[in-house]
């Protein structure tokens, strides 16, 4: 098929933020996650754990606790002292209410989702009523000294257990009084260190479970005030715990990166007496596990090493499938890199700045696997710092390399970059049109004369770029039936005729750019779109879904292509469907119209539509086998999927020209060294 010159880029110094808290939506397959930089993400379990929504963070708005309440409303609270409600359709903060008790360390919703309790720095527990259109302060419960680090409602909503330093309290919700105060250090004499209760859970039988800085998981009878069981799981702190809905299993996260499962098991076969037993230890993280969650089928943990680990419980699995695989997510399910093909530039998006790099070059050629000598080194051209506390939502560089655009929650910026010999000048475009913000995706047209801005309520703005350094709002596309959801992916055709846009409701709308009209809607498919692109020659829209299905839709004919139907009839290879990370980018080779280039975090793949599809008995990843075969014997083994797993973890891949690829990798070890040191663990011989 051919040789490529691959620019292997490892200088994208992205450090994903650590996971701070997790919240499972009860009885629904959604998980909310907050990172240490204040970003909030929503993963959809039914869409193959796709990172469906991302609300970028804010410098002054850390999130210490997340909870779902009143159906599917998501609330967060943090050290800023505010309770924040998130707008999941518009992917932004919808409103903030001051808690009135200083920094908020913990928040919990009652079982019916009508009330929120917050634990504050000043030692108070405050109740808020969840009302349509916001929350209302209800009252204060008994205030004692010591910050409230964790909270848990009794399932009957009558009592709240609150963990503090050296002590846990049980509060009566009706009277607001502290009805029990338990010193967690009572049993450890002569210990001068304070014992921080990091996490607490209130079980329906009146047992209060705590995890503390001594590495203990303790079970208390709150009415008697007695310690029922104590398990020391770690020499360092036990930071987080979560209980399954049936209250028969607990997951505990520790600062050594290990997580443990406790299960309520009969002491003997058939015995009625049950006891909590530490059953399974896991070591998926290298750093503190600050957040854990327990879904009905999986143990979920998030660590300061930025990893989200979903560890299915095999005993709850009916069959082998997507749900039965261990998943680890470290990188976002969206692109943070954009590429100017013609100018050979890369734009890297960080939380609060952008970096523009020019790729190096070589004059040599070589054989497979060879590293070519460089005649020009890559060059860091530009760093653009975003002003203000808001984090960047999206960014893009134009194919010619002379335009750079980005957006934050409240502002949109467009820059013109001029290259004169070795010097670069950046000019901010003044008076950008007032648009409905934030923008979730930016896309320049292939000839770099217009910019498409994906926005809230399904709308897409078209801006015309003018020389020298100006722009004009041309049109705004809206879905004909309207939509509350924001558009998160865009694709434009090379001939400047078509634009495809996907919103949070997963419908794909196609607009005609020549006459500014809605052209058609791609038939609805029940899964999230992870990437899409329009073929430069045929104007076929290629769509990748989070369940790893691939579709090809002919825009001019408004129907799926014959190849797409054939793929659906034959089915994709089993190994392909079992992959666990979504396709994040699709591109094409204009010189070879039958090729589709796509990638996820662990592989780069070229699909050659002219070749037969592999059936399940064939080897999907057959490149190394093929290389060992003589040329004559190869053609019988060929199939459409040409997969390369050499570059991992792959954040971005694109085709620069016919035989030239760029691959942006971010080795996990590289960013691990930039994380704060984990708890030192003695390794033998060091």
């Amino acid at each position: 098929m051919g040789e490529f010159e691959v620019h292997r880029v490892r200088f994208f110094a992205l450090v994903p933020a650590g996971v701070r808290c997790l919240a499972c939506l009860p009885r629904a397959a959604r998980l909310a996650l907050a990172r240490t930089d204040g970003a909030v993400e929503v993963y959809n379990f039914s869409a193959n754990y796709f990172q469906e929504k991302v609300i970028p963070g804010h410098e002054a708005r850390s999130v210490e606790a997340l909870c779902w309440a009143a159906g599917e409303r998501l609330f967060g609270a943090g050290l800023s002292g505010e309770i924040i409600e998130y707008d999941l359709a518009g992917l932004r903060v919808s409103r903030c209410v001051d808690g009135g008790g200083g920094p908020i360390w913990s928040m919990a919703a009652n079982s019916s989702g009508t009330q929120l309790a917050i634990g504050c720095e000043d030692g108070s527990v405050k109740l808020f009523q969840v009302v349509p259109g916001g929350i209302q302060f209800e009252r204060n419960l008994d205030r004692r000294k010591g910050r409230i680090l964790c909270l848990s409602w009794h399932p009957s909503d009558t009592h709240i257990a609150a963990g503090s330093i050296d002590v846990l309290r049980v509060l009566d919700v009706c009277s607001g009084q502290t009805v029990k105060r338990i010193m967690v250090n009572y049993h450890v004499q002569k210990v001068k260190r304070e014992c921080i209760v990091w996490s607490i859970a209130f079980l329906s039988n009146g047992t209060v479970v705590t995890s503390d800085s001594f590495g203990r998981v303790q079970f208390w009878d709150w009415e008697q005030g007695t310690l029922q069981e104590s398990h020391t799981v770690s020499t360092s702190a036990a930071l987080s715990l979560a209980v399954s809905e049936k209250e028969d299993s607990i997951i505990v996260g520790t600062s050594s990166g290990a997580t443990y499962q406790f299960q309520l098991l009969p002491v003997k076969m058939g015995s009625l007496e049950k006891r909590w037993v530490r059953t399974k230890p896991f070591q998926h993280h290298t750093h503190d596990v600050r957040a854990v969650a327990h879904s009905s089928t999986a143990l979920i943990s998030g660590g300061l090493d930025a990893q989200l680990v979903i560890r299915p419980l095999m005993e709850k699995m009916q069959k082998k499938g997507y749900d039965a695989v261990l998943r680890k997510f470290t990188f976002p399910h969206r692109r943070l890199v954009s590429c100017a093909r013609k100018a050979r530039l890369l734009l890297f998006q960080f939380s609060q700045h952008l970096e523009l790099w020019r790729l190096g070059s070589t004059e040599e050629t070589g054989k497979d696997g060879q590293v070519l000598p460089l005649c020009r080194m890559p060059e860091h051209l530009l760093q653009l710092k975003s002003k203000g506390p808001e984090h960047i939502y999206c960014s893009c560089v134009s194919p010619c390399g002379s335009w750079v655009a980005y957006s934050t929650a409240s502002r949109f910026h467009l820059y013109q970059v001029q290259y004169e010999g070795n010097s670069i000048s950046v000019k901010k475009v003044p008076k950008v049109p007032k648009l409905l913000l934030p923008a979730y995706q930016l896309q320049f047209s292939t000839n770099s004369d217009s910019l498409f801005v994906a926005s809230a309520r399904g709308s897409v703005h078209v801006l015309q770029l003018l020389e020298p350094g100006g722009c004009k709002h041309l049109h705004t596309f809206r879905p004909p039936s309207g939509s509350p959801e924001a558009v998160y992916l865009l694709a434009s055709s090379a001939d400047g005729h078509w634009l495809a846009a996907v919103g949070g409701d997963w419908t794909i709308h196609i607009y005609n750019l020549k006459c500014f009209k809605h052209h058609c809607t791609v038939p609805m498919y029940s899964c999230a779109v992870t990437a899409l692109a329009i073929h430069p020659v045929t104007n076929n829209l290629v769509i990748a879904y989070s369940d790893q299905q691939l579709f090809e839709f002919s825009i001019p004919e408004k129907q799926y292509t014959a190849w797409s139907r054939m793929v659906q009839n034959c089915g994709l290879h089993k190994v392909w469907l079992e992959r666990d990370s979504p396709i994040t980018h699709i591109t094409f080779n204009p010189k070879k119209p039958s090729h589709i280039l796509l990638h996820d975090v662990y592989m780069f793949c070229v699909i050659d539509k002219s070749l037969p599809l592999p059936d399940n008995s064939a080897l999907l990843m057959n490149q190394s086998t093929l290389k060992q075969l003589p040329e004559t014997a190869r053609h019988r083994q060929l199939h459409a999927f040409k997969i390369c797993k050499k570059f991992q973890p792959l954040l971005f891949a694109d085709l620069l020209d016919e035989n030239c690829l760029v691959m942006v990798e971010r080795p996990v070890l590289d960013f691990k060294t930039q994380l704060p040191l984990p708890i030192q663990q003695k390794k033998f011989g060091t």
Binding site: M1, F4, E5, V6, V9, L272, G369, V371, L372
Partner: protein
């Protein structure tokens, strides 16, 4: 229980006495107590004053109340009548029948069988013991008389399984007996005799456990609380777990503060009072296995005992003849075998009809030569089924004969059998004893090398024998030296070298000098442990001991009996081996069947453990110990340095690995 604080406390009025243990009704979470034999009190957790709670006065004296998990409480009266609490509370003054007349209830226990409660209780009258089984709902009652015996039952416990009640009785003669009582019995027979069988004798190596109470843990284990009395010593109170299948004491725990003599067990936990506190001990019974019972479960030190015959181990001149004939067996055995069987056709037929045991019985009084011939023939039938058992019988026959006739000792025959057959100690337990008596070190060496299951006692006996024998005696014996030949530097070799030098014409002065240096050097060397302190024969024998399997707990008591001089000699030899091992970088001794460094270390530790005080006192051990210490310390330093280097190297490798990854490169990728 570390955090003992009462969750509730109730008391009766002054003058009233609580007459039976308070129970909790699990279904209603009520407590039930009886005071003054007849007055029933029922209360809940939140009640504070016992005087104000529910009260019922009964018409008869209560012996005990049993609370069952899902059957409600059952009340047993002193007259043997049984009522469920519900029935009783309907009419507290109802008449209660007297079943046991003037027998006195000693013990009772209740179970759930299916949906109905079953009550079992034991009574005594004039030294006779009776057992009653009462099904409360069916109103059926069976009476059994316990088989009489001189000693008396002191305590009972029972459990229900497969429609049978298993009753265990602890007797005053320190034994536990077991009796089975069927539950399904229709015929209302009068007073059956209950026969019992001995389950377990509560004695272990001379000490006897005077049990006071006991519980059943699982089908093979019971726990007994009692006084362990060793003759001549003060008795100690102990909690013990016994394996009834193998009649062994599994574990014991001393309770120096004394107990009330009562032991309860719920959900894999023991509860008993120890001194003034309630003690809870969690226990775990593993599936009973012979290995666990004899404490060899974890012993993985057993050397690889070859399952085939190692012909190379033979080859001593004396055995040459038998060696050849044996060697021919596997190579070209067929014709010879058939020949022999043809020749012995008659005898063979005869033998086939006779069992091996019978044959051996017949041979008992035969003359020595006939005896051996017959045995040889018997052994030659290689295809015989259960050949191992047969050989075991043969060996027993020979050893019996040896014991009966002190002059009879067929050494070469025994060696031949041991070398060619896969024997084990348990197949012929007397063989090594006889060999020890006869001081047959050659046979003992082979046994030590081949038997996987020699008891520690015998291993120790061998060690002691080997150490006590003089070098002169050993030189005359025929010991396999293959394990020492490669590393030992025997003294006479040195002497030979010296004499050679003299012969080569050195003058007297020089010789004198060299003699002096030799003396000083030799003493020095001995001090450093570089010259072997024992002769090669003794060394080979000791090596055999070092390589046999043992478990420390059982060996240590025996090892303590080793005379001090021998212990020092043995330690000196071990030190010598240790030094020899350390000379090689891979810390192994050259040669076949040489002991490994781990075996040497283990024995050294054991020996020092066993003779610690003696070693400290003995002046001649002082130098040895300090040498040993210096050597070990040097080695520890050396290894810790190595450790450091390894750490640094690993770190380097990690750094190197990281360096490989460049931040940017242009590579060629071919996709096919």
């Amino acid at each position: 229980v570390s955090d003992q604080k009462p969750l509730g406390c109730w008391s009766v009025k002054h003058g009233q006495i609580i007459t039976c243990p308070v129970v909790c009704n699990f279904e209603t979470h009520e407590y039930i107590a009886v005071h003054d034999d007849k007055v029933l009190r029922i209360w809940k957790n939140k009640d504070i004053n016992l005087d104000k709670v529910f009260k019922a006065t009964l018409s008869a004296d209560v012996y005990r109340i049993h609370s069952l998990p899902n059957g409600g409480p059952v009340v047993l009266f002193k007259g043997g009548g049984v009522r469920t609490l519900d029935v009783l509370l309907e009419a507290p003054q109802q008449e209660i029948e007297n079943i046991v007349s003037d027998e006195v209830i000693k013990w009772s226990q209740a179970f759930m069988e299916g949906q109905q409660p079953v009550l079992i209780f034991a009574t005594e009258k004039d030294g006779d013991f009776f057992v009653y089984v009462q099904k409360v709902k069916m109103n059926s009652l069976h009476k059994y008389k316990l088989e009489q015996q001189e000693s008396k039952p002191m305590n009972f416990t029972a459990y229900i399984k497969n429609q049978f009640i298993t009753l265990l009785c602890l007797y005053s003669n320190d034994a536990v007996y077991k009796a089975l009582i069927p539950l399904q019995q229709n015929a209302e027979e009068e007073e059956q005799i209950l026969s019992k069988s001995l389950l377990l004798n509560l004695s272990v190596s001379g000490s006897v456990l005077k049990g006071t109470s006991f519980v059943v843990l699982d089908k093979d284990h019971i726990a007994v609380l009692g006084n362990l009395a060793t003759s001549g010593e003060e008795s100690k109170e102990c909690l013990t777990i016994w394996n009834t299948k193998f009649q062994t004491l599994q574990t014991s725990k001393e309770l120096p503060l004394g107990t009330s003599g009562q032991l309860w067990c719920y959900e894999e936990k023991f509860f008993f009072t120890h001194g003034k506190v309630l003690t809870v001990i969690i226990y775990k019974c593993e599936t009973s296995s012979l290995a666990a019972a004899v404490g060899k479960l974890k012993d993985s030190r057993a050397p690889d005992v070859s399952t085939f015959v190692n012909w190379d181990t033979l080859g001593e001149a004396e055995l040459a003849a038998s060696f050849q004939s044996q060697q021919s067996v596997p190579l070209k055995s067929e014709p010879k075998m058939t020949l022999r069987s043809r020749r012995n056709a008659v005898t063979k037929v005869q033998q086939d009809t006779l069992s091996v045991g019978q044959l051996l019985l017949n041979l008992k009084d035969a003359s020595t030569t006939v005896f051996e011939d017959e045995l040889r023939q018997l052994m030659s039938k290689a295809q015989m089924p259960d050949i191992q058992a047969t050989i075991g019988c043969v060996m027993t026959a020979i050893t019996d004969r040896c014991k009966a006739n002190p002059k009879y000792y067929p050494q070469s025959f025994l060696v031949q059998i041991v070398q060619t057959r896969d024997l084990s100690y348990s197949l012929c337990p007397d063989l090594m004893v006889v060999a020890l008596e006869k001081k047959d070190v050659h046979l003992l060496q082979i046994c030590l090398q081949r038997f996987p299951d020699i008891p520690e006692e015998i291993t120790y006996a061998c060690l002691e024998l080997f150490l006590s024998l003089s070098e002169a005696y050993l030189q005359s014996t025929d010991v396999n030296l293959e394990s020492v030949i490669c590393y030992i530097d025997v003294e006479f070799n040195n002497k030979e070298v010296k004499s050679e030098i003299v012969e080569n014409g050195f003058n007297a002065e020089l010789e004198k000098d060299s003699c002096e240096t030799k003396i000083t050097k030799e003493t020095h060397l001995t001090a450093a442990g570089e010259l072997c302190p024992v002769g090669p024969q003794k060394a080979a024998l000791l090596n055999a001991v070092l390589q046999s399997a043992y478990s420390e707990t059982f060996l240590l008591p025996h090892l303590k009996n080793l005379p001090a001089q021998q212990a020092v000699l043995f330690l000196r030899y071990l030190h010598y081996l240790h030094v020899k091992c350390s000379e090689k970088i891979n810390t192994t001794l050259p040669g076949i069947r040489a002991p490994t460094v781990n075996q040497i270390m283990d024995w050294m530790c054991l020996l020092i453990d066993a003779h610690f005080t003696v070693m400290v006192m003995l002046p001649e051990a002082k130098g040895l110990l300090s040498n040993l210490h210096r050597f070990v310390r040097a080695q520890v330093r050396f290894y810790s340095e190595l450790n450091k280097i390894e750490g640094s190297l690993r770190e380097l490798q990690r750094l190197n690995h990281q360096k490989d990854i460049q931040t940017y490169s242009i590579e060629v990728l071919e996709l096919i």
